[in-house]
Structure formats: C-alpha cells, structure tokens
C-alpha cells in the first residue's frame, strides 16, 4: 500500500492504494466518484476522461500512485456552461460517455486557447472540423456527435464574445 494525497474536486483526499490501482478505479471505487466512466479500460474510448492539473487525461491508463500530489477534477467537480449546453443541444443519449465528453471539452477549449495545434489546424479559429478532430478521443456509441459539437461551439462562441 502506498499513501497518496490528491486534491480531488477541491478537497484534499488521502488514501492508501496498491500500485496496481488505476486513477479511475481509485476515483470510482475508493472515493465513490462514479462520474468518470469505464468504457474500455484501455484508453480507447475516453469515457474516463478527467482533468489532472488542468490537462485532460484517460484515468483508466493512469496509475493512481503516479498522480500523488496532483489536482484532479472529475465531472462532479465541474460547474461549466457546457453542462447546460449539452442538455440544450442534446449532446448525449444514454449518458455514459457524457462525463468524459464534458471534461474532455473543457480541456480541449483550454488547449485551443493556449495555442495547441491539431492536424486540422490551418487557422487559430475553432471550427467545427477542429472540434471534431480534437474531440475524437471521446467515443459516443449513441451517435450524439452533432449535439456535442453544437454544445461546444455554442459555449466557445460565447466565450469569444
């Protein structure tokens, strides 16, 4: 067992974990933060996306011990216009990918604002094509992609104004 301390959604949490415990399982099973989802446990779907020190990561491929001392934000700690926009634009159906989509979108908007390029990038403007490429790490099997992009464009547009 290793004792780790993380600031999770603003609260300092201290917990004993075996090294084999992923950050995702630490959040879900140890801290009962079940917002981050386990869709594949292989880094292939993005449902587990959380923000670690502001960066979006896949919590399923992160060992909790590696994030000792980090600041973690899960959907439970998010209060962002995107959440309401997802409802308004119907950016989900079953809701299982939604926590990851929203956390990923928050990270994505921050990345874009900081000048992070993408393979689409021809300009600094956040186009729909840009959003699609940058959000491609988050699968949605219900196929709510249009609504998700609309929600993000809506919020990004408001930020720009």
């Amino acid at each position: 067992m290793t004792e780790i301390r993380m600031k999770v959604n603003g609260d300092v949490e201290s917990l004993d974990v075996e090294p084999w415990v992923s950050l995702l399982d630490a959040l879900r099973d140890r801290l009962d933060l079940t917002g981050p989802k386990k869709g594949c446990d292989q880094g292939a779907c993005g449902a587990c996306t959380v923000l670690a020190d502001g960066m979006r990561i896949n919590a399923c491929l992160a060992l909790a011990v590696q994030y000792d001392g980090s600041e973690i934000t899960t959907i439970e700690g998010v209060a962002h216009p995107l959440q309401e926009a997802f409802v308004r634009h119907d950016g989900f159906q079953c809701g299982y990918c939604t926590s990851g989509q929203i956390c990923s979108a928050i990270g994505m908007l921050a990345e874009h604002a900081s000048g992070m390029p993408s393979v689409v990038a021809d300009s600094s403007e956040l186009t729909e094509a840009e959003v699609r490429e940058r959000m491609s790490g988050n699968l949605c099997r219900c196929g709510a992609y249009n609504g998700i992009v609309d929600a993000i464009m809506d919020v990004a547009g408001k930020d720009a104004r």
Partner: protein, 335 residues
C-alpha cells in the same frame, strides 16, 4: 494485472540503478502503453520505476538550429512547441496524428519510442506469437494481417511498429541519448529498433537497464517544407495503415534535398533510403515520385490481408511528394 512494487525515481542515476537491481523491472512513463499491456497480462514487471519525476521534460536549442528533446516531454507539448512546428512540421503533425488528445497529454517521447506493436495476435494471450512468447509461432502469418508489415519482415513476425512520431524522427536523422550504468551513449534512431529476424522478441538495440534520456534533432532546413500524411480506417484515433513523413527541397525543378520515411509498413520506422536516392538530383515530377515509390516497395513481401499495402504506400508517397512540390511552387509564385 500482476501486483508489482512501485518506485518513483528522483534522478537519472537512481532510476538506472533501480532498474538494474531488479531483473523484472520496467521503466514507466506516461503509462499509455505499459499500463494497458500490464492489464492484459502481456507485460508482467515485478517492479515499476516511474521516471516521470525526472528532470527530462524540456526542449532545448542545439547549436546550429537543432533541438534536444527531453525523453519525458509529453507528446502534446512537443507537438505544440513553436520551434518544432516551424523547423520540423512533419514531427508536430505526426505527433498530432497519433492516438487522442488525452493520450498525447500523458504519453512521453521516450515511451513513444518504445511502444509495442498492435498486432492482434500479440495482444491476444491465447494466440501464437513469437514476439510475446518466443518459439510459439506466428498466428498472424495466415490470420488477420491487414495491419501487418510488408518491409523488413521475417517468417517469425510481421508486426508493425505503431508509432507516428518515430516515422518523422526517422526522416529527420534523430539521435537517441541513452543512459546506462556505464554512462551515456548515443544511438541513431535508425538503429534503435531491431528487425524481427528470428528474434522478434528483441525490439530494440538497448541494453537491459538503459534509459532513454533525450532525442536530438540535427538542423535540417529541408524539414521546414515537410509533412506527415497518415492513412487510416477512421478519420482520427486509429493506427496507420500507411503513413509517410516527407520533406522536399526543389531547386530549378530538381530535387536538391529529400527526406522520406514510412510508417505502418514495417517492424520499425522505415527510412525510405532507396526512394530518396532515386529522387535526389532528379526531376520533381509525378513520374519521378512514382519511380521512387516503386523502387522502395520493390522488396515488399505481402500476405493475403495486407496485399493492398504496397499499392497504398506508393500512392501515398506520390501524393505526399506532389503536395510538397506544389506547395514549393506556390510559395515560389508568391515571391
């Protein structure tokens, strides 16, 4: 996943010492490949030495315009680096073509160099795989091998190296700095990865316990006009069927400099030296591009599932060089 001891290294010497002391130990970077393989039971280290705390996460200038990239620089940070984007656009594009934004935020340069194949028979613990279990055979030879390699293969293994970044690094003559118990040595990227031969389980020329500390990019003005083209089954978030990293300089219609490397076709990032040789000092036209591509793929060995790859590779090489030469002429016209 088998249980393991976790060690967080605080300096390079300790990291190397820790890993050498434990025969079953592994370095851990961003975890995006190793943690997955551990969960699948394919990697079973007794000790994991976490190197992400080491001070190897900066990109520094080298004399003459090259760059020294710390092994722990995250893929996203490297892709975003202004100098990389200006001097080596193909490298930034290759990084951004790989995986997803989340994984790029986690993955390190050193880990990317050492990522393991995505061959389905390597991943499936019940299949015969000489790489996973030497001597067990290769179920990919007559199985699903659409993703399989066509260059540098053997009868033991046709697995491809999955990295995008490495393809660009191969084209850029990168050098890898490695630290072992005996000190530091430098390995040309072209010599870092091993072809399978009879020993596909040996994937690199690193000695046990050696730690990649940096990648150095020599100055390469030609790379300012470069691109990375990745062909895959989805528009994003998929491994390459074929990829091309290319840089081109044309003077008065003649190719004065060229760099070309291929991904998705070989067990290692494939520097297309034969194609480069044919292109250099020749005309920068479609016919020459095609001749070069044909020559590079002349030795391709195909299986049922990947018989399309030589054709796709040639088409992608030609298309990428065509685009690059067009960009040059457009720029020229603009001046």
């Amino acid at each position: 996943m088998k249980s393991f001891a976790y060690v967080k290294a605080t300096n390079v010497e300790d990291a190397v010492r820790a890993i050498t002391a434990e025969p079953g130990a592994k370095f851990l970077g961003g975890g995006t490949n190793l943690v997955d393989l551990m969960r699948e039971g394919i990697e079973r280290p007794d000790t994991v030495v976490d190197v992400t705390g080491l001070p190897l996460n900066t990109v520094e200038e080298l004399p003459g315009g090259g760059l020294r990239i710390g092994a722990l620089v995250r893929n996203s940070a490297l892709a975003a680096d202004r100098r990389v984007r200006t001097r080596y656009p193909m490298l930034s594009q290759a990084l951004l073509s790989g995986a997803s934004a989340q994984l790029r935020n986690m993955a390190t340069v050193g880990g990317n160099l050492l990522q393991r194949t995505r061959c389905p028979y390597f991943y499936d613990g019940t299949s015969a795989c000489n790489k996973r279990e030497p001597g067990s055979g290769c179920d990919a030879l007559d199985g699903f091998n659409r993703g399989g390699a066509i260059l540098g293969v053997s009868d033991s293994c046709i697995a491809t190296h999955p990295s995008d970044m490495c393809v660009a690094l191969a084209a850029l003559d990168a050098e890898v700095e490695v630290r072992g118990l005996d000190g530091t040595r430098r390995v040309p990227l072209a010599d870092l990865h091993a072809l399978p031969g009879d020993t596909p389980e040996i994937e690199t020329t690193l000695a046990p316990g050696e730690l990649i500390t940096a990648v150095e990019l020599p100055p390469a003005p030609v790379a300012a006009n470069s691109r990375y083209r990745k062909v895959r089954d989805r528009a994003s978030y998929a491994f390459a069927l074929v990829s091309v990293a290319a840089a081109l300089e044309v003077r008065e219609g003649t190719v004065s400099q060229v760099r070309l490397a291929l991904g998705g076709v070989a067990p290692k990032p494939w520097r297309a030296r034969e194609a480069e040789r044919i292109l250099l000092n020749g005309p920068a036209d479609e016919a020459a591009f095609r001749r070069a591509a044909e020559a590079e793929l002349a030795t391709a060995t195909v299986r049922q599932g990947n018989a399309f790859k030589p054709g796709l590779a040639k088409a992608t090489i030609v298309a990428t060089l065509r685009e690059l030469s067009r960009e040059l002429s457009t720029e020229g016209a603009g001046r």
